[in-house]
């Protein structure tokens, strides 16, 4: 039982990180109907932004940690907005395939620029938050896992508030449903799309820092595997569906962790993609997604 709970907590904390990345994929898909493959590299840039920022602020402190986290989120938000503006917007009216290929190109560019500027060798990620372990009975919760849970909950509640209760969030949903109708009520789609990229990229940065806190080493190619898995999580929950991405992320994290604890642990990385194949075969709209029906 204890082991089960411990694994569940480990799984949820990994899943929360997948969820944070998956949200960016799903939100961008929601407004633009394309998969931003460079998203996983924004996750990586978030980790490096945290690494370099942490040199200037106190480590193992709550305040310092939060500043580094917020700083990395802002840097990545700006990066996401710039990438959309320079690479994707000029192709907005072209076939979706063009943008998709550009996104893959952007991903390669970020990875290789990362190797050029940050160096290809892994770097040790600093301890940002105060170290402590919380014991709930026999179950141990590290401070990094606590950070993951708290940050994820705050971010999810905040995101829900933005999307459901604010004007820009409502505009996001409007653009996502029908960009033409949105422009006819005076919504500047470009601004909403920029906002969406900024928001998604900030979440990826948060994911990057939380991931690095738990795995302690960062390198310019670190985003590839978690990014692909988060993409699977987004599809699992229903691409374009925000609660779906959160659910898909958590679910994937838990499943992976339990697999990892079993005697088939060698195949842990394969489980996400097996799930992807299964979901596409049996429920292509995802767990929470609805098959689109047009009303006439």
């Amino acid at each position: 039982m204890t082991e089960f709970l411990q694994q569940l907590i480990n799984g949820l904390s990994l899943g929360a990180i997948y969820a944070l990345i998956a949200l960016g994929y799903t939100m961008v898909y929601g407004v633009l109907r394309f998969i931003n493959f460079a998203h996983s590299d924004i996750f990586m840039i978030g980790a490096f932004a945290g690494y370099y920022l942490s040199k200037h602020f106190p480590r193992e402190s709550m305040g310092g940690g939060l500043i580094v986290l917020a700083g990395a989120m802002i840097i990545c938000a700006l990066l996401g907005i710039i990438i959309e503006r320079l690479a994707y917007r000029p192709l907005r009216d072209r076939s979706k395939l063009n943008v998709l290929i550009t996104a893959i190109g952007m991903s390669l560019l970020l990875e290789n620029a990362g190797q050029f500027f940050f160096g290809a060798n892994p770097k040790a990620f600093p301890v940002l938050f105060p170290v402590m372990t919380i014991k709930l009975g026999a179950v141990v919760l590290s401070s990094n896992q606590m950070a993951v849970f708290i940050v994820t909950i705050v971010v999810l509640v905040g995101l829900r508030f933005i999307v459901m209760r604010t004007k820009i969030g409502t505009a996001m949903r409007a653009v996502s449903f029908n960009p033409v109708a949105a422009s006819l009520v005076g919504i500047n789609n470009d601004i909403v799309i920029s906002f969406t990229f900024g928001l998604g990229s900030a979440l990826a940065a948060a994911g990057g820092i939380l991931y690095s806190l738990n795995y302690q080493a960062i390198d310019p190619l670190m985003g590839i595997l978690p990014g692909m898995k988060a993409f699977v999580a987004a599809v699992l929950g229903g691409i374009g569906n925000i609660p779906g991405a959160a659910l898909g992320g958590l679910l994937l994290g838990v499943i992976e962790t339990f697999f990892n604890g079993s005697r088939w642990s060698t195949y842990t990385d394969a489980i996400a993609f097996t799930l992807l194949i299964l979901i596409l075969l049996f429920r292509p709209a995802g767990l929470l997604g609805k098959a689109q029906v047009e009303k006439v």
Binding site: T170, A182, G186
Partner: protein, 236 residues
């Protein structure tokens, strides 16, 4: 109010509008009738900035708005209720109306507009928290018009408001269109396949055929025109 001069629009190699000119005066209801594919919707979409015009001019209140992006044209007080209604089916009725007032910052003005919309379409008030996708076709049309009115327009373009709606509701909606025009002094350009209805409530009409205006006159005269009668009013 609105003046279109020699407007040409192409879809790739296909020429959809071949030099259309028309005028809507302040406070007027003008209708554009024609068969399927004549270019009625294309005309409206080119005016509201959804389509690029190859040549020609769109003048709105004396200002050249040709090829201005759609969201900027809304700012000038022009509202377009598109074909197929295009309500935000994933948003509630209230959220749809609030999106209609997207550019309006003043909360009291938004409230005034909303009260006005509820006055015209009380049904919307009853369905405020309902998701728009669950409304009937007629209710969605009311919502689409209501949403367009939320921006406090001076000029309204309506594309096929009768399409796919129960006949009884069509009558109500057309009465409301006249009401909006008379009470608020909003000028209206109406595109409609149901030529009978359109000519009944409009003052002036244009007949569009394969991208060209082939006839224009007072609606009373158009209804007597043998050519219009045989082609658009079902014989007699």
């Amino acid at each position: 109010m609105l003046e279109i001069k020699n407007l040409t629009v192409n879809y790739g190699a296909i020429c959809a509008l071949r030099g259309v000119s028309l005028e809507v005066k302040q406070g007027d209801i003008v209708t554009l009738i024609g068969a399927n594919g004549a270019g009625k919707t294309t005309t409206l979409r080119a005016v509201s900035g959804l389509l690029k015009a190859q040549s020609g001019e769109v003048l709105y209140q004396g200002r050249n708005i040709t090829n201005l992006p759609a969201h900027q044209i809304v700012k000038l007080g022009m509202s377009h209720v598109p074909e197929g209604r295009m309500v935000f089916a994933n948003l509630t009725v209230l959220e749809n109306l609030m999106m209609g007032a997207y550019l309006q910052k003043d909360k009291t003005v938004i409230q005034q507009e909303m009260d006005y919309v509820f006055g015209i379409f009380p049904r919307l008030k009853e369905r405020l928290k309902q998701v728009a996708g669950t409304l009937s076709g007629g209710e969605q049309q009311m919502l689409a018009i209501g949403r367009a009115l939320m921006s406090k327009p001076k000029f309204l373009m309506l594309d096929e408001p009768s399409l796919g709606i129960a006949p009884l509701l069509v009558k109500t909606i057309f009465e409301k269109i006249v009401e909006i025009n008379q009470q608020q002094g909003i000028s209206i350009l109406l595109v409609e396949q149901n030529a009978n209805l359109a000519l009944e409530i409009s003052r002036y009409g244009y007949v569009l055929e394969t991208g060209r205006i082939i006839l224009q006159d007072e609606c009373a005269a158009l209804r007597q025109n043998p050519q219009v009668k045989s082609a658009y009013l079902g014989g007699m």
